[in-house]
Amino acid sequence: MKPSIASLYQAVELQQEIPPLLIGERANATGSKKFRELLLADDYQACLKIALEQEAKGAHVIDLCTAYAGRNETVDMTTMVGLCAGALKAPLMIDSTTPEVIEACLRLYPGRAIVNSINLEDGGVNIRRICKAAKKYGAAVVALTIDEKGMALTAADKLRIARNIHAIAVDECGLRTSDLLFDSLTFTVGSGDATLRDAAMQTLEGIRRIKAELPGCLAVLGVSNISFGLQPQARRLLNSVFLHEAVAAGLDAAIIDAAKIVPLASIAQEDREMCLDLLYNRQVVDGKEPLMRFIDHFSGKAGEAADQGPQEPTGTPEEQLFAKVLSGDKDDLDDLLAMLRERIKPVAIINQILVPAMRHVGELFGKGEILLPFVLQSAEVMKAAVTLLEPFMDRAEGDNRATSILLATVQGDVHDIGKNLVDIILSNNGYVVHNIGIKVPAETVIEKAKEYQVDMIGLSGLLVKSAIVMQESLPQYKEAGLDIPILLGGAALTPKFVAESCAPGYSGPVVYCADAFAGLKAVREHEEGRLQSTTYDPLTAVKPMKPGVRHLTVDRSNPVPLPPFIGQRYVEEIDPALFLPLINTQALFRGRWGYRRGKMGAEAYRELVLGTVQPIYQELLHRSVADGWLQARVSYGYFSCHAEENSVIVRADGQEYPFFFPRQSEPPHLCIADYFKSAGEGGDIAGFFIVTIGARIGEETTRLYRDNAYHDYLMLHGFSVEATDALAEYWHGVMREELGIAGDQSKDPVGAITQEYQGSRYGFGYPACPDLGAHRPLFDFLKPEAIGISLTENMQMVPEQTTSAIVAHHPQAKYFAV
C-alpha cells in the first residue's frame, strides 16, 4: 500500500501523482502575523478559517502550529485540532516540539496525522517519546536533520543525522521507514553569508542522498526559507524555482503557501535563469556575485512578478473583480471577495459581476480578440470565486432556476475534451451543467434528462461513427417524449448533416454547435425563446473541394523492398528524446491549444509565442520526461500481402486477414489497395504499427480537469495528442529506414507534414481508411495487449493516446480523402 495519511473524511497519499504534496503553512502562530493576532484574540473560528482557505487554494495537508510565548499550547492546540478535525477535509500536520502537546493532539485527532517534528537536538530524549506516540496512534513524522551540534549544513551531515534518526525511529521505536519524512533543512541564499552560498545545493544533494541511502523514506522541505531577506516579488519566483528543483531531486512534500506558487511556465526565462544562478551559485566570468546580480535584476521590477504579475489594484472592488476574471488572475481573490461580501450578497456578486465578466470574455473570444487558453484561465477565476462564495450562500440562493443542461459523449465514443470544454464554459457562465461522462447510451441520456429535469441536452462525439449514433438516436429521444433542444457537437459533424440528417428525426430544435461558445450562444437563444434548428441552404453553402489530382496512374513497376524480418515485434522504453522533437508545434500551438494569430500583428504574435506559448511547451516537454509521463511502446511488423481490388489480403500467423479500403467516388478514384501489388504482380509487403505513449499522461489530464485547472487541462491534452502523433511519425521513419526507402529523409517536422518522403502511413479511423473495424484483425496479429493496449467494444484503442496505421512503401502513396 502507498504511504498515506488521512482526515476523518479522506485519505491522502504522501507521494502525489504530481509531486509535491502541498502542506499549507499559514495556520502558524510563528510564521503568520494574521494567524497569531487571531490566536492572541482567542478567535479560534477565524483561525480555522485560515486553515479552510488554504485547503480551498489547493493545500493537501494543513500545518497547525499554535506555539507562542505566553499562551497555553496544549489548550490552543487541542482546541484547534478539535475544530479542524470536523471542518477540514485535508489531514492535519501537528506542528509542535513538545511531546505532551503532540500526544494530546494525536489522542484527539480522528485520522492519521503527520507530526512536525522530531530531531536529535537534545541528544535523543524527546524523539523517543514522540516516536512511541506516533507508533501508538499511527502517525507519520517529520524529522529535521538537527543534532546536538546544530543544524546540518552539508549533505554529508544531513545524511549522517538522518541515519541516526532512522535507527531510533525505525529500529528502536518500530515505525516504518515510510512513516518518516526527512527535512534536509532550507537556509536562505539571500543573506550574503559566505557559508550559505551553496546551501541550496547542499539541501538538494541531501534529499538525493537520504532518499538513496534510506530507501522508502520521504522528503519534505519548508521551501520559502530559501529566500528570507529578499524582496517579496523576487521571493515568490525564487521559491517556485527552488521548489521545482527540489521536486526534481526527489522532494515528496513541501511546506509552502500553495497560493503563492508561480507556475514555472509563467516565469520569464531570464528570471528563471537568474534564480537558478543564485541557487546553484553560478558565477559569470568577470561578473558580480549571483546574489548581487539577482538583487539588481529584480530591483527594477518591483511589483511585477511573472509576466502578468499583480499590479497595484485600481478601481472599486467591483471593478477589480471584473478585471481579475478578464485577466485570469486568481491572486488575493479571497481578500477581494471578503471586502465585497461586506456590502453585497454572494449571489449578487456572482450575477452582477462574475457572470457579466465571463460574458464579456466570451464576446472578446467571439471577436477573435482573446484566445481559448486565456478564456479557460478566466473560467478558473470564476470557478475559484464561486467556490469561495459558496459557504456564504443560502441553499435557496444558489438554486435560482438557472437553465440546466445535460452533457454526454455518445455511446461508443471515449473522447471527452470537447464535451468538457462546453461544461467549463457553460458552468462558468452561471448555468447548471450535469456532465454524465463518456460512452453514454441514449437510454441513459433520456433517463437522466428526465431525472434532472434539464432544459437542454448537449451531445458530443469525435468519431465519424458518433455522428451516425447521434442521427440514429434522435427518433429515440422523440419517442421518449422529449422535445427540449438538443445541441450536437463534434469534429465529424457539419451544419448540413445536422440540418438534413438529424433535425428531421426529432420534435424539438436540433442545433449544430461548432465550439463551446456556439453552445453558449444556443443556450442564451433558448432563454430568449428564439432557438431554432440548424438550417442548411444548398444554394449559399460552400461545397468543400475534395483535394487531390484529377488524373493519376499508380505505377506498377516499383520494386518491393526487403523488410528486415517478417512478422510482429514489440519495442518498449523508447526514449522520448527520439520522438518529441517531431512534435508538430504549429498544429499544437494553433490547433490543439487555440493560440491562433487571429487579429494580432506579426510582432505581437511572436511575443505571445516566445513569452507565453513556448514556455508552456518547454515546461511540458521537461515535465513529461522528468516525471515519467511518457511510456512509449510499439508493436509493429512487416507482412506478406497482395491486393485484390479494394482489399489488401495480409498473411500473418498462417492466416489470411483481408483489409478492405474504400475507393474515392470521384476522379482519380484512389484506394489504399492500389499501392500494393496483386498476387499476379508477385505480391507485396505491408507494414503495420500500433504506438502508444501509455496511460499515465491521460491520468494526469483527467486529474487536471477534476481539479478545475482548465487551462493546464487543455494544454496537457493537446500535448498528449501531438506527442502520440510524433511517436507515430518517428516510428514510421524507423520503418522507412528498415525498408531501405528512407533516402535522405528530412528530419524537419514540416517535411513530415507535407510528406516529403517515400511512402505513407494511413491511420485507421482517418480519411483514407475511416473504418475502425480494421482494428480487430490488426489486434489479432500485432497483439498489442502485451504492451497494455486494449480495444473497446466499439473498436477504439485504450489508452486514448494510442494510434495505429498501415504503412505503404509505394513512392506515390500520399494522403487523400475518400
Binding site: M545, G548, R550, N584, Q586, R590, I753, A817
Partner: protein
C-alpha cells in the same frame, strides 16, 4: 512588410503552409494565386480544414 499578394497562410489544424508563390498545383491552383483569391471551396490539401482555419503566417 510583404504585400498581401505574397502573404503566406498556415493551417492551424495541421501546420501546412500555403505559399502564393507555389500555389497548389495538385488542386489546380496556379502559382501566384493569393490566399484571398483562392476559390471558396479550396480546403487544406493535407488535412481538409476549411479556409477559416488558416492564420496569416510570416516569419519576418
Amino acid at each position: 512588410m510583404t504585400s498581401p499578394k505574397h502573404t503566406r497562410y498556415i493551417c492551424a489544424n495541421c501546420g501546412y503552409i500555403y505559399d502564393p508563390a507555389a500555389g497548389d498545383p495538385m488542386n489546380s491552383i496556379s502559382s501566384g494565386t493569393s490566399f484571398e483569391t483562392l476559390p471558396e471551396e479550396w480546403v487544406c490539401p493535407m488535412c481538409y480544414a476549411s479556409q477559416d482555419q488558416f492564420d496569416v503566417y510570416d516569419e519576418e
